[in-house]
Amino acid sequence: MLELDQITISYGRTAVVTGLSLTVPQGEAVSLIGPNGAGKTSTLAAIVGLRQITAGSVRFDGEEITGRAPELLVRQGLALVPERRQIFTTLTVRENLRLATADLDRVAAAEALEREMERFPALRGRLEHPAGGLSGGQQQQLAISRALMCRPRLLLLDEPSLGLAPKIVDEVFATLDQLRASGVTILLVEQNALRAVRFADRAYVLNAGRVVLEGTSAELADTDLLTNSYLGVAPTSIGGKDA
């Protein structure tokens, strides 16, 4: 469904991601993990068109989407839940959700809203409140809900557990499990490496802008291997397969 082919992302003359190739098959969940500054968030930003790619290409459903505007990609079925939620704090919860339904008619928009209220009942009573007043967990629910209002086929999530209490993180991952079960393809960027690996079908470890390890969830369950890859001493392949 999503293919990154040898992409390079630079800030000025400094490359933060170099020659990254990654595939997210339809219906699967893929995690992209790695230490701070590895280039994970930049990779997601480049996929959704917020960051320019200096080399390589991005394909979505077989179509080249490199450099396409974010608002067009949303309409193609690709949505991002950004790092630190980035909800619109001065808008009400309803307005935050309404933004994502600009192209829908009134009935379809109401149905989408009802669907999300069933998914996150805690938001129902806060619809007319400023989103800035929500708790961290509710803000994360709103951010996910806002992305889902667009009915994405591929959902990208950037650090959805960041700054949340463990109980709330459990709830977030339970939601992601449900989404995955409903057929939504997921690309997850997450600092909680073990949790991300357990959640996904497949994971890529990024370090200093390069993929240093990739494999299935079972293959990467070896915590020593994972730890070493974070430290930059792991092999780049598992079972003789190049990463």
């Binding site: 619109f88 001065t90 933004l99």
Partner: protein, 294 residues
């Protein structure tokens, strides 16, 4: 008592004009981080539209001025600023500076630098007497126009989809795009609304002097910038209150300053502005701005 009411009317009228000017600037800054120095030239274009439509029925003259100014604002965005989309704030500022001079030069070539007389409808030049208080109808028109525009804008920003999109874009343009908000549409809307405010401001400014020159927008835009900054940059309501506050302070200084100091009114006014910014560099209405940042 009579003179106090008279001064209050004057303050409200001047403040209303400044508020209209400041909101037009604040809208563009809120969405694009653009300090558009060429906003004054939109007023100039509105002024020359009134001149070009001299002799036409007044509804056509006034409506024509507003429509032409809106179109000019949209063209300004499309031709001058869209190619610099994503550029840093200083680059956009210099672009607007160059555009401002270019438009003034074009107006000078087309109309010369001499003031051109504009005939506006008589109701803008009459006086109204209530009891013992007599004031210009332009004062009333200014206040009513500002109230209508501000109320309409506030309603539109709350109720309409494009309004919600503009508020979202003002908070985070990148995130707004991630949920499908079309950048071109939102920016064009901001420029269009700014054009509407500039068109109305042009009528009010030209009505005061009855003439238009290539530099007619320079002084108003300076006042609008000051009002926007004093009110709290990026805040629509801050800009409105900044405009009203500046208008009120101007009239207050006019009243309280001794005759020998009256010519230095603007010096006192901007000294007051500097003092306010020294005490509150974030602007006067920062809390309000955070609640409703556009």
């Amino acid at each position: 008592m009579t003179s106090i009411v008279q001064h209050l009317v004057d303050a409200a009228s001047l403040g209303a004009l400044y508020a209209v000017l400041a909101i037009g600037i604040a809208l563009m800054f809120g969405i694009m981080n653009l300090m558009n120095l060429a906003y004054g030239e939109l007023i100039m274009i509105g002024g020359y539209s009134l001149y070009a439509l001299n002799g036409e029925p007044w509804p056509l003259q006034l409506l024509g001025c507003v429509v032409i100014t809106i179109v000019a604002a949209l063209l300004m965005e499309r031709l001058a600023f869209r190619p610099f989309r994503g550029a840093s704030a200083p680059v956009l500022l210099v672009t607007s500076f160059a555009l401002s001079f270019a438009l003034q030069a074009i107006a000078t070539v087309a109309f010369t630098s001499r003031a051109k007389g504009v005939s506006l409808p008589g109701f803008l030049d009459s006086s109204i007497t209530v009891g013992s208080v007599s004031f210009s109808s332009l004062n009333v028109v200014s206040v009513v126009a500002a109230l209508v525009l501000v109320t309409g804008l506030a309603t539109g920003l709350r109720r309409s989809m494009i309004g919600v999109q503009m508020r979202a874009a003002a908070e985070s343009f990148a995130t707004a795009r991630l949920v499908g908000v079309r950048a071109d549409k939102v920016i064009a809307a901001a420029f269009g609304i700014s054009g509407l405010f500039a068109g109305v401001a042009a009528i009010l400014v030209v009505a005061q002097s009855g003439t238009v020159t290539p530099t007619i927008g320079v002084a108003p835009v300076l006042v609008a910038f000051v009002a926007t900054i004093v009110g709290g940059l990026g805040s629509l309501w801050g800009a409105a209150w900044g405009g009203f506050g500046l208008g009120a302070l101007t009239v207050l200084l006019q009243v309280v300053l001794p005759t020998e100091l009256a010519p230095y009114r603007d010096a006192f006014l901007y000294a007051g502005v500097i003092f306010v910014l020294l005490v509150r560099p974030q602007g006067l209405i920062v809390l309000r701005a955070r609640l409703e940042r556009v």
